[in-house]
Amino acid sequence: MTLKKPIKINSQEEFKEVFENYFNPLVNFINQYVQNIENSREIVQNTFLKLWDKKDVLTIETSLKNYLYRSAKNAMIDYIRKHEKVKLISDEKEQLIYNLPDTDDSYLSPYIIRNEILKAMEELKPKNKEIFRLSKFEGLTYEEIAKHLNISKRSVEDNVARATIKLKEILLRTSQIFD
């Protein structure tokens, strides 16, 4: 799946790949504004429903990322308008949504990267992965992790650093985020 060339989704397998690569990034991007994971999830499911319906006739000229960014953004706007009576989000957030540009999809990028990091973590050695997880996901300090695992703080630092470097290498090999 390339992100740069014009794109046509030819099969269910290809569609599934797009879905798997973009579902969580889109949910997190949308959730930043909607601030409700269930609603965000529904908006993204709807985004993919629309894409599914169009997939046979659609040729994406810009990039898949840009296309999905715009579709999700529009689906979010639809959703908010449709549920106008229920005040879903703050005016401030609403304003931010209406100000989102069509062409600049960099708003989605950090979430794609985070998703790729999560996937790449699966390739880390178990111990290395666990220390990285404790540090990044649970926000424990090096001291806390050291105490928890009964290892030295130095060893925790080393592990986190090694995981970071390793993840960079994995991503360079497996992902297109650095292209």
């Binding site: 969580n24 601030q35 599914w52 990028s109 950090p110 990267i113 926000g139 300090t141 650093a161 960079k168």
Partner: protein
């Protein structure tokens, strides 16, 4: 010249020695490829910090929802409403399936649910939304409802969005504390059962020590409290952006700690409240005056991360993205201007900015 990644990482973390830093700076000037290499490491380092707030839904389950729904969708029904309903039912049904193995009805009529390595979100019978963080669990009675007092007990870290009902208060029990609410959004963190904490995103909650029921703290939106060594630490209001960056301003007089020390004589406040390695932070400061945007960002992120821990649960996501690497220089500078009361000058060196403090109002 080839530089090892771990030296680059030290540079990113600002823990490199002067000599190492010079080495890295020289290496980066050498070629665009080197700078790209550095940038990639920086990206992983920087984005990893945000993994905590990244919600990873089970994509396989979402795909199954999606694709099974497709069967229905292909039927030539014009009215969109039935679709919608079927869609929702399908979702609900599959959610139950996925979480079935985590869902245990105990002999004593309590229901247990737990999350192992992923976030698990579901609704209680009263429609209260619950998010279980990894390695967390919740128990509640089989006949849990709005009719009575709503009581759940938790282990680990659990977020609640409680449906308001003045007749039926909502109580979250953990080992040492009880958190009582009427309707609000909050997180109870008991990863360390002896040092539980509560953070409030919306509304008001009271937190009660179990041993000493008169020991109560009232938390409002944005507040957090930590219970440690037998008492509550101060209610910590979410610090605003400016405060967090304040140590950058050299003349700053009141260190963060000051606020708490007179009140609490505890030898060890919450570890994250400690300024880590103050010795290293001080020499960093002058660097800010002539650093590239990457350095400024990375420096900022340090500060950001430090304070964000205390406000993490409530942190506006825009704050995260507002310092994202994908922003243009101008946008970042705008934030600087607004948030830190700094004046920015285009520097002499390429890609560098100069930061100058505006005299205090």
């Amino acid at each position: 010249m080839i530089l090892e990644d771990h030296i680059l990482l030290k540079h990113i973390e600002n823990t490199a020695s002067v000599k190492e830093a010079e080495l890295v700076d020289a290496w980066m000037r050498e070629s665009l490829d080197n700078r790209k290499h550095y940038q990639r490491l920086l990206t992983v380092y920087y984005e990893s910090k945000h993994l905590k707030t990244f919600k990873a839904l089970d994509v396989d389950a979402e795909w199954n929802d999606f694709i099974s729904n497709k069967v229905v969708f292909h039927e030539p029904i014009e009215n969109s409403l039935p679709h919608r309903k079927i869609f929702l039912y399908a979702t609900a049904a599959s959610l139950i399936l996925i979480s079935a193995f985590l869902f245990i009805i105990n002999a004593d009529n309590t229901i247990s649910r737990s999350a192992t390595d992923k976030l698990v979100s579901f609704k209680l019978p009263d429609n209260t939304a619950v998010t279980l963080f990894p390695n967390s669990s919740i128990d509640y009675s089989e006949d849990f409802s709005l009719e009575t007092e709503r009581i759940v007990s938790v282990a680990g870290k659990v977020r609640f969005n409680v449906i308001p009902n003045s007749k039926s208060p909502f109580l979250v029990e953990s080992k040492l504390i009880t958190t009582k609410v009427i309707g609000t959004v909050f997180t109870v963190n008991t990863y360390n059962p002896m040092v539980p904490s509560v953070n409030v995103e919306q509304g008001t909650v009271s937190v009660i020590e179990k041993e000493e029921r008169s020991n109560v703290r009232i938390l409002k939106k944005g507040d957090s409290v930590v219970f440690t060594n037998g008492d509550f630490l101060d209610v910590l209001s979410t610090p605003i952006f400016k405060k967090a960056i304040a140590p950058v301003i050299p003349k700053k007089k009141k260190p963060k700690k000051k606020k708490k020390e007179p009140v609490i004589a505890k030898p060890q406040p919450k570890p994250q409240q400690k300024a880590p390695q103050p010795k290293k932070v001080i020499p960093e400061e002058p660097k800010l005056s002539s650093y590239t945007v990457n350095h400024v960002l990375e420096f900022l992120d340090k500060k950001h991360e430090k304070f964000s821990k205390s406000r993490r649960a409530k942190m506006k996501d825009d704050d995260i993205i507002s310092l994202n690497l994908n922003m243009s220089l101008d946008e970042i500078l705008d934030i600087f201007k607004k948030e830190y009361n700094l004046e920015l000058e285009e520097g002499k060196c390429e890609g560098c900015v100069k930061l100058k403090k505006i005299s205090k109002k």
